[in-house]
Amino acid sequence: MDEKEKTPKSRRDFLRIGAGMGAATLATVAASGLFTLTGKETRAEGGKKIKVLTTDGKLLEVSESQLSEPTADMVVTRESSHQGITGRKFVMVIDLAKCKNARKCVEACQHGHHLPKDHEWMKVFLLQNSEQEAQYWFPRPCFHCDNPMCVSVCPVGATYKRSDGIVLVDNQRCIGCKFCMTGCPYSVRVFHWKEPEDKADGAVYSPETGFPTKEGTVGKCIFCADLLRKNELPRCLSACPMGVIYFGDIIEDTITNGNETLRFTEVIRDRAGYRHLESLGTEPSVYYLPPVNRQFPVERGFEGLDPKIRERYENTASYKINPLLRHGKQ
């Protein structure tokens, strides 16, 4: 176990030195983070004093009038987006037994991040490991690897790994060389091949929202880093009608799918959670629960599917192997 933890760590440290981020600068940004984010400077003294706990665990006393709820339009700057949310290490668990390709996660992601058509961060694969094995639907966000190939190969530091585990892309730095796309073994990254239709007048760019998008740069799932700042859950999770996706914190050892909250270690232990393509050594932050005792037959995933979407699976080997898949109701 010790061995396993050592190797990626030293490599990550190596990466971090290159990105030129000192631990000291991280801490200071974190401490001021809470207050700069509110963006309000109302200096009315007096009133009730209340105690607040900052994200890095400091207890402060401030007057109530100085506080304001974080609003939806607050934007984390490019610089501060390098700073992870202190004391957090995010993890996602996807229960393959429950997924029936409802595609709500894909839609919510597209809509929530204002992504152009044909530029999807979340994809649902129909996998079958070998001919005799079961087929299953496989939702695939970014794995936010702890040993991310995409970060290693980026020549300009446009993509970076944060202390809370999230891998972000700064599309104002990205030169569009696409090396990260060939580096990622999970085909997570997608390219903006043309000028996005959604011009987003006036929206301020932040890597934590990935918006406004820019032609000629790379995009990918960002674990909804903007919502996490507001203590909200990722969009795919909230949209999923089946509760397939669990999200949480590996330090708190807690995950939730919005309905139930579970101990991460217990779930992984009791339900034989695994990471996809573990052998590649990328150390993903996304775990999968095997598709056992399934609630739906796999063909259900084709029910009510738009013909355009159905087309997307027709060339797949598993589609050809299993004739049942072709008979889902339109």
């Binding site: 190969v153 300009v156 030169i175 090396f179 073994p185 999970y186």
Partner: protein, 446 residues
């Protein structure tokens, strides 16, 4: 120059001077055609910049297409000068005189064209300076930037040093009838070189050092290029053999292009006297030896992948032998065996045959590069699904083909312009070799 009265030199100038002074109509015609192709390339680039990369055939899986293939290809061709002329120079082969100038020109010109494809390939051209402004030394692309820029500088210096003596000769040629500004250019370029013993000693030393250096830099450049693929986890790329394999492949294409150019210039300038069958056979034998090495590397790479049959490797190799079958046979069988047979069998060893064999080798090698880049990207670990069916397979579009064509035209244009500035065969080198080879060199010249 004191040794102007050398008979060989006189003959050489007789061949080259007319073309340096006057320009024929054919030259203008060819130049115009190539220039039109170049302009078409500019139009393609304009289309791509204004409409976005959607106009290319590249999509989210095959993110590197023909541009990267051409990039690797041109970088490989640049080996002609680096290794061939470097090695021949260091070993002092007596037949190098008539071919090294061409080899060095090929090197510098393809080194100028190759990196342009990186610019076509990246999504935001205007952010190219970021590579220097925010470099991350962990990225193989940064290694590449450093290596290629050193290579361009090194090869340019090597080329210039070999031009120097000829510039001096051209400057001193009063009777040639050069226009004033042209003599002035030669005077500036010749850097006050007058062939004094001291200057000759320094120049020789500098050229020896540069020859050794560009050999080393060239090996580094191509290894780094190979590692861009090798360091990723992708099936077909993640291979320890890629560094040396790419180096051998590069020398192969460089030698091939050299033979083709030798044939073309021999025809244009009627150089039958200076570029003889001996030259073709010698460079041909070089091609044969490299083909053997290259074939061995190719075989060894695919054998280990096929025999071990790791799932993804198997999927990739199955794909190579079905979807890409013709291309695979052409590049990895025809492209290796034909040059070996043509040069290896004495009866077949004629100048046109060797040239055709070289052409097949170069073509095969281009397809080999294609087979390294595209099929791997079409074979990711997660099967290509949940994507528009039209986006699955890669086919280059007219924009990509146009820019490829334009780059070949630019190669021709630059060679044509260079041949207007200096003789395409190094006069000084020929003379020097002649002096060294014949024992009865006139001692008073030195």
């Amino acid at each position: 120059m004191e040794n102007n009265n050398n008979a060989l030199e006189k003959n050489l100038w007789k061949v080259f001077l007319p073309d340096l002074v006057k320009t024929s109509r054919t030259w203008y015609l060819v130049f115009a055609i190539l220039f039109l192709l170049f302009l078409f390339g500019l139009f393609c680039l304009y289309t791509q910049i204004t409409q976005g990369h959607i106009v290319t055939g590249m999509r989210d899986n095959v993110v590197w297409g023909m541009y990267i293939v051409n990039f690797i290809f041109f970088m490989g061709v640049s080996y002609a000068g680096a290794l061939i002329s470097g090695v021949l120079h260091l070993f002092r082969s007596d037949w190098r005189g008539s071919v090294v100038r061409m080899a060095e020109l090929i090197t510098v010109i393809s080194l100028l064209i190759g990196p342009c494809f990186i610019m076509f390939c990246i999504g935001r051209l205007e952010r190219l300076p970021f590579l220097a402004m925010y470099p991350r030394i962990q990225s193989p692309i940064t290694w590449d930037v450093i290596a290629i820029s050193s290579d361009i500088i090194g090869c340019f210096i090597f080329l210039y040093l070999s031009f120097l003596e000829d510039f001096a000769r051209l400057r001193d040629m009063k009777q040639a009838g050069f226009s004033k500004w042209r003599t002035k250019i030669y005077r500036i370029l010749a850097l006050n070189y007058h062939g004094s013993p001291e200057q000759r000693k320094h120049l020789k030393w500098a050229r020896d050092v540069m020859a050794a250096m560009i050999i080393a830099i060239a090996i580094i450049v191509y290894s780094v290029l190979a590692w861009i693929f090798g360091v990723t986890l992708q099936p077909g790329w993640h291979s320890t053999i890629f560094g040396p394999y790419f180096v051998i492949a590069a020398i192969y294409s460089g030698t091939g292009v050299l033979i083709i150019l030798m044939w073309i210039f021999r025809k244009i300038y009627h150089l039958e006297e200076y570029i003889t069958k001996r030259h073709f056979v010698n460079v041909g034998v070089l091609l044969l030896i490299i083909a053997a090495f290259y074939g061995y590397f190719t075989f060894s790479d695919y054998l280990t992948k096929w025999y071990g049959s790791v799932k993804m490797d198997k999927v990739l190799i199955d794909k190579l032998f079905t979807e890409f079958y013709t291309m695979f046979i052409l590049s990895n069988y025809v492209g290796i065996l034909v040059p070996m047979l043509v040069v290896g069998i004495k009866k077949l060893r004629t100048i046109p045959n060797i040239t055709i064999a070289a052409f097949i080798a170069v073509l095969g090698l281009w397809f080999n590069r294609y087979l390294i880049v595209v099929p791997t990207l079409e074979t990711p670990y997660l099967p290509i699904q949940d994507i528009r069916p039209a986006w699955i397979h890669y086919t280059p579009t007219w924009v990509e083909l146009g820019l490829t064509l334009a780059s070949l035209a630019t190669f021709g244009l630059l060679i044509m312009l260079a041949a207007k500035l200096v003789p395409i065969v190094s006069v000084s080198e020929m003379v020097e070799i002649e002096e060294n080879v014949s024992v009865e060199v006139k001692p008073e010249i030195r």
